[in-house]
């Protein structure tokens, strides 16, 4: 048996320690959620390699409305069946991951940025600026979010980036309200007062001193917004206001499946919907974990 030199044992210990340190970041994270999110991100990035067929072109030689492979008449080349044009459902689902994740993430970024900028400026500058911004926030909250998004999407016309704009412009209100509340107490804290005395500009204080302190709130809200935005995107695409055909999006797939649902072609409805549920569930679980982790009071218990 070969002996391991002492030096390399020390090395292994150091590497293991570093790894453990890294892993600590995700300590206690819901494994299921992390697993689902990883699978989806991989599917979105490598869709071209993973999908067995082209998502927008009917599979050559495949039947139209073929069932999944385990049922009679199913084929292994189209494992989740084909749709009314003979396109592969699995490939469309894999490519659909892109739309859901891109809209979910960028829509959340737009909403978070608008909300954070307005919340921080309202909270820090105060006075009439605060009044105006908070009244606008109230007005936008008075609109049922989905109706407002439908209205904006209808005005902008169907495209993926228009959906991002419509949803981002609708879902910022929670950020503004919560962040403003936090900034109101932050601006009385000593480090802000000191920065003011030291002559830092208002912009600098907001960006360098206040923003880092509300970052955890932003991230928790963001993890919860992603799911809401993804469902809203699916609803808009379902109504024909989202991603235009023949591009593959889960909501659009559900809309196209409606006509054949009545005659029992269940796989066209069940699989895309299941994907929506999985991604939203995973982001919710992850968000819950993040909230507990970011809140020092909850963490130390």
């Amino acid at each position: 048996m070969a002996t391991i030199p002492a030096v390399s044992i020390a090395n292994i210990a150091r590497v293991a320690g570093a790894l453990r340190q890294r892993a600590k970041l995700l300590q206690g994270a819901p494994l299921l959620a992390v697993f689902i999110l990883t699978v989806l991100v991989v599917a979105a990035i490598f869709a071209d390699l993973l999908a067995p067929h082209h998502p927008e072109i009917p599979v050559k030689g495949a039947k139209i409305l073929a069932p999944p492979f385990w049922m009679e008449g199913g084929s292994a080349s189209t494992p989740l069946g084909t749709d009314y044009q003979g396109r592969d459902v699995l490939s469309r689902i894999i490519f659909g991951t892109r739309v859901s994740l891109i809209v979910g993430i960028t829509g959340t970024l737009v909403a978070g940025s608008i909300g954070a900028i307005l919340g921080i400026t309202a909270g820090y500058l105060g006075k009439w600026f605060d009044q105006v911004i908070m009244r606008v926030t109230d007005a936008w909250m008075a609109m049922p979010a989905l109706i407002f998004a439908i209205f904006l999407a209808a005005m902008l016309g169907p495209s993926m980036w228009n959906i991002v704009i419509a949803l981002g412009v609708v879902y910022w209100t929670n950020y503004a309200r919560l962040i403003r509340g936090e900034v109101l107490s932050l601006r009385e804290r000593e480090f802000v007062k000191l920065a003011e005395v030291a002559g830092a500009s208002k912009l600098r204080i907001m960006v360098r001193h206040i923003l880092p302190n509300v970052m955890s709130t932003i991230m928790v809200l963001a993890s919860l917004t992603v799911g809401v935005v993804i469902i809203a995107e699916a609803a808009l695409s379902f109504l024909g206001l989202g991603v235009p055909p023949p591009q593959p999006a889960w909501g659009l797939m559900l809309a196209e499946a409606r006509a054949t649902l009545i005659v029992g072609k269940w796989w066209l409805t069940v699989f895309p919907g299941l994907c929506i549920v999985l991604v939203v569930l995973a982001s919710q679980l992850f968000g819950d974990w993040l909230r507990v982790r970011m809140d020092p009071q909850l963490r130390n218990r």
Binding site: R135, M143, F151, M155, F238, I262, T269, V270
Partner: protein, 307 residues
């Protein structure tokens, strides 16, 4: 109290004013020529001209806003392109159907959410509570319109028990009510649970227990009653939301409510109608919020003094 009501009412008016500006501006900045946008691509030239004239689009923005608002205030909400009759009439023809569906969905959410919330709170951390937590999580994660499609698959296609769509007898309302009520049941469950937990930990519940009351009387008569106020508020607000956010459910089940009216209006690019429905939604919610605020202040004097 009067001062409080006046202040709240002024806030509500400001909110509505900003809302109207938002809608007004959104229509004018999202497209090129608003008349062209509203009439849609490939519209007849006389339609575009009629719109420009009707909405006064060649005048300045303040003048346009004024005519837009006078349209709202006279209660006509403009004239629908597609039906050629005032939007208000279309809206109020459909409103009872939407209210019916919202009421049925509320009943579903009450029957599921409140008992489950009470059980979760009474048996905290038991496996009942775990089931409750899973239901609450799935309520957020399962899109209500997908649930509607699944119900249709199960009850109409496979079992053949319920009609797929339309409005008729009681059997028509079951599936849309279940699909719409599902999300709200989950939110009601969460609120009932947390509100019950808060009350159960309070001093007077300990006292009633010390007095030797049987546990079920403590829970039902003393705890639940006090936990009810926030729950009732949520129910009222939910009812209002259900009327307005049921678009996709109504489309799936061909329910002739406001949601399907809005959807049809979008497909036909009937913009006065779209705008009218959106304005009414905002009006309704601002109104209900105002009423809730006033009722709360009436019940709890601390609220009207602190604000």
């Amino acid at each position: 109290m009067r001062q409080f009501i006046v202040r709240r009412a002024v806030y509500s008016v400001i909110t509505l004013f900003l809302l109207s500006i938002t809608i007004f501006v959104a229509i004018r900045v999202t497209g090129g020529d608003p008349a062209q946008v509203m009439a849609g691509p490939g519209a007849r030239a006389e339609d575009v001209a009629r719109l420009r004239d009707e909405w006064g689009l060649d005048r300045s923005w303040p003048a346009q806003y004024f005519s837009f608002m006078s349209n709202v205030f006279t209660g006509e909400l403009g004239k629908s392109f597609n039906y050629g009759i005032p939007v208000r009439k279309l809206y109020f023809d459909r409103l009872p159907n939407s209210l019916q569906l919202a009421l049925a969905a509320s009943i579903v959410s009450i029957l599921v959410g409140i008992p489950a919330g009470i059980i979760s709170a009474v048996k905290v951390n038991s496996w009942w509570d775990q089931i409750g937590k899973i239901v609450a999580l799935l309520g957020l994660a399962i899109p209500s319109f997908w649930l509607g499609l699944l119900l249709m698959l199960l009850f109409s296609v496979w079992l053949g028990w319920l009609p797929t769509s339309g409005k008729g007898d009681l059997r028509h309302i079951i599936m849309p009510a279940l699909a719409l009520g599902w999300f709200f049941a989950a939110s009601l469950l969460r609120l009932t649970r947390s509100s019950m937990l808060e009350v159960m930990g309070s001093e007077y519940i300990k006292l009633t227990r010390l007095k030797g009351m049987p546990e079920h009387i403590v829970i039902v008569k003393h705890a639940f009653r006090n936990a009810l106020i926030p729950v009732l508020t949520l129910l009222g607000l939910n009812l209002m939301f259900m009327v307005n956010v049921a678009v996709v459910i109504e489309v799936i089940f061909a329910w002739p409510g406001i949601g399907s009216l809005l959807y049809g209006a979008i497909l036909q690019r009937d913009f006065p109608l779209v705008q009218g429905v959106v304005i009414m939604a905002g009006l309704m919610i601002v109104g209900v919020n105002l009423i809730v605020d006033i009722l709360y202040a009436y019940v709890d004097p601390r609220i009207r003094l602190t604000r």
